[in-house]
């Protein structure tokens, strides 16, 4: 077990508390940098989606994880970013300009959503953000002169400083990775400065935050704006990766996917956004496997266990029908959320910390270390 001896206030401020962090994150970065030369194009594509989803996850964490304001409307922010990019592209606006414009515009919209949200809490805020997302979805479908309605918009291949950046090439991957890393570093910086602490204070006790001189309304709006802005940036990359956007891509299900990202990953740390993104991106290949291979595998197993060829055929059809049923994805999302909330409320990153502690303390680890405490005295709170 490592004990940190702090000799300077700097020790509490620095991002890497000790050299172990530098080595492990350095190694991770090196692996990520050489990945395009090693991995197949399919895996690279998945990795790009991980970067984009993780960026959104970090944005959502700022709002939900650290400021405590739930949102089921982040698909709309992603859409605003994506559509801004696609729209500005038509006028030959260069990438850096429309990238920044998309982030800024989404941030402004986020702030505007934040204002009415000031008076709402918990489930009511969730409902408000869902309605916002539906409004945006409707606007995208109806405002045909700008968004091309339900026909959708084509997103041209990215031009960056005179070179063409293919959505499948390594440059695009590096770009997504850079956006993710910069977002994470910026967010970490924010969290170790007064604004980040104000966010956490608002999450834990608005009354106390107010009495410590924090302008709760202002900081909530700031949190909404930053969260939306980051999602807007991710939206530009999302649009480029898909090369085609239409309103039915930015539905409630996408917002729920973002919630899954942070819920599965862990809402208390930025690691959670990345782990959750990896988990979410892995669901789709799993579903494909379920559809394509699972029926055959199960039928084969049934056949070896002595079922006749006819029975095995029936079983194969039944499994195939189940695996390709409509709404299976939504059901799986639901099950995942329920299971994690019940059994792993700290998410994958929480699990990782537990495993780490287990080995650090071995053989003295106590199961009760992370046991959720029951609070017997629930004090009345000033709201």
């Amino acid at each position: 077990m490592r004990f940190l001896f702090k000799t300077d206030y700097e020790d509490d401020i620095r991002l890497f508390p000790h050299s172990g962090y530098v080595y492990s994150y350095g190694l991770l970065l090196a692996v990520l940098l050489i990945a395009p030369y090693v991995l197949s194009s399919y895996l690279m594509s998945q990795l790009v989606f991980v970067c984009i989803y993780a960026t959104v996850g970090v944005g959502l964490l700022i709002l939900t994880g650290f400021t405590g304001q739930a949102s089921l409307g982040h698909a709309a922010f992603l859409a605003i970013g994506a559509y801004t990019a696609a729209y500005l592209q038509q006028f030959n606006v260069p990438f850096p300009v429309y990238f920044l414009a998309a982030g800024l515009l989404t941030g402004v919209v986020g702030a505007l959503v934040g204002f009415p949200a000031l008076r709402l809490q918990g489930i009511y805020l969730v409902i408000a953000t869902i309605s916002f997302a539906f409004i945006v979805e409707e606007i995208m479908a109806r405002w045909e002169s700008v968004t091309n309605g339900n026909e959708g918009m084509r997103v041209k291949t990215m031009q960056l400083f005179g070179t063409t950046v293919s959505r499948d090439g390594p440059t695009f991957y590096y770009l997504c990775l850079a956006v993710l890393v910069l977002t994470i570093v910026g967010t970490l910086n924010l969290l170790r400065s007064p604004t980040g602490r104000a966010f956490v204070a608002i999450r834990d006790s608005e009354t106390a935050a107010r009495s410590m001189g924090i302008n709760v309304a202002l900081y909530k709006v700031k949190s909404f704006a930053i969260s939306a802005g980051i999602t807007g940036f991710a939206g530009v990359l999302f649009a480029h990766k898909l090369s085609f956007i239409s309103p039915e891509m930015f539905t409630l299900q996408l917002s729920i996917e973002f919630i899954i990202v942070i819920l599965i990953g862990g809402t208390f740390s930025l690691h959670g956004a990345v782990l959750g993104a990896i988990f979410l991106v892995m669901i789709d290949p799993f579903l494909t496997y379920l559809k394509d291979d699972m029926p055959g595998v199960i039928a084969g197993a049934a056949a070896t266990l002595g079922a006749g060829a006819e029975r095995a055929g029936h079983i194969q059809d039944a499994v195939a029908a189940f695996a390709s049923a409509n709404g299976l994805k939504g059901a799986i999302y639901g099950v995942i959320i329920v299971v994690f909330v019940l059994f792993e409320p700290l998410g994958l990153y929480g699990r990782w910390l537990k495993i780490k502690l287990f080995f650090q303390l071995f053989p003295l680890y106590k199961r009760a270390t992370f046991k959720r405490q029951k609070i017997y005295v629930k004090s009345e709170r000033n709201r």
Binding site: I13, L190, S193, P194, R197, S205, A208, S211, E380
Partner: protein, 252 residues
């Protein structure tokens, strides 16, 4: 002119008069205790001062400035800090970051500077950290710096709340039952700290308290309330022997 003044302060919830035309003044550098039976309106007065409730009528002055209409977050900026009866700490944060939130009113950095963590932000953080460390030393909180609040016992949380209020370098501090839930030793410590806050840090203290031993030991003056009205005002022993106060506590 008094340092802090409440004039005809009232807070009515429909027909219920939680605070009814209460007037009092706090002089600079004194420790004033408010006592009274449960439901007398003591905490409500605090909530009026820190603007959690808007008063039904009446005015509040601090350093000759009318603060009745100031937004709640401005009260701390003026130099009035408070603690809560049912501890209101930031549960899922470390002690250190709780205390640093107390420094919020002194932070001057802008959002974009913080995103880049410019040298000015770093310098500000170190300065805040230094002040927080002084408070940690003052209240003997060294063992708890990096602990999460949610894992700490009640007595320690009580002290951390006081520490958070002190971190904002207040001129006036409102303590809402500082000794509730503390054992005898902890209450002793608390009384020393309250006296030290006055003598060493020059902070004016307005305190709501039930523990008469603590009140007698630290207060310069005492106000007794019942049913939202002032029963008696004066030195601790005067107030305790005032017939109305005895009647309020024991029943006439």
């Amino acid at each position: 002119m008094s340092y802090f003044r409440a004039e005809n302060l009232s807070l009515h919830f429909g027909g219920l008069k939680a605070v009814d035309a209460v007037s009092f003044a706090v002089e600079k550098g004194e420790i004033l205790s408010i006592i009274g039976p449960n439901g007398a309106g003591k905490s409500s007065i605090f909530n009026l001062i820190s603007r959690i409730y808007p008063p039904t009528s009446g005015k509040i002055f601090f350093e000759d400035q009318d603060i009745t209409q100031q937004p709640a977050y401005d009260i701390a900026r003026l130099g009035i800090a408070r603690t809560f009866q049912n501890i209101e700490l930031f549960e899922n944060a470390t002690v250190l970051s709780n205390l640093l939130v107390g420094r919020h009113r002194h932070s001057t950095t802008q959002l974009w500077q913080e995103l880049l963590f410019l040298p000015s932000v770093r310098a500000g953080e170190k300065a805040h950290r230094r002040r927080v460390e002084q408070v940690i030393e003052f209240l003997d909180l060294e063992p708890y710096r990096d602990k999460l609040i949610s894992g700490l016992p009640y007595g320690v949380r009580k002290v951390i709340e006081l520490a958070r209020a002190l971190c904002s370098e207040p001129k006036l501090i409102l303590l809402d039952e500082p000794s509730s839930g503390l054992n005898v030793e902890e209450t002793d410590d608390m009384s020393f700290w309250i006296r030290d806050m006055k003598s060493e840090l020059g902070i004016t203290v307005l305190m709501v308290e039930h523990d008469m031993t603590l009140v007698n030991r630290v207060s310069d003056r005492v106000i007794a309330l019942n049913y939202g009205r002032v029963l008696a005002m004066g030195s601790p022993s005067e107030v305790q022997h005032h017939p109305d106060v005895v009647a309020a506590y024991l029943g006439a």
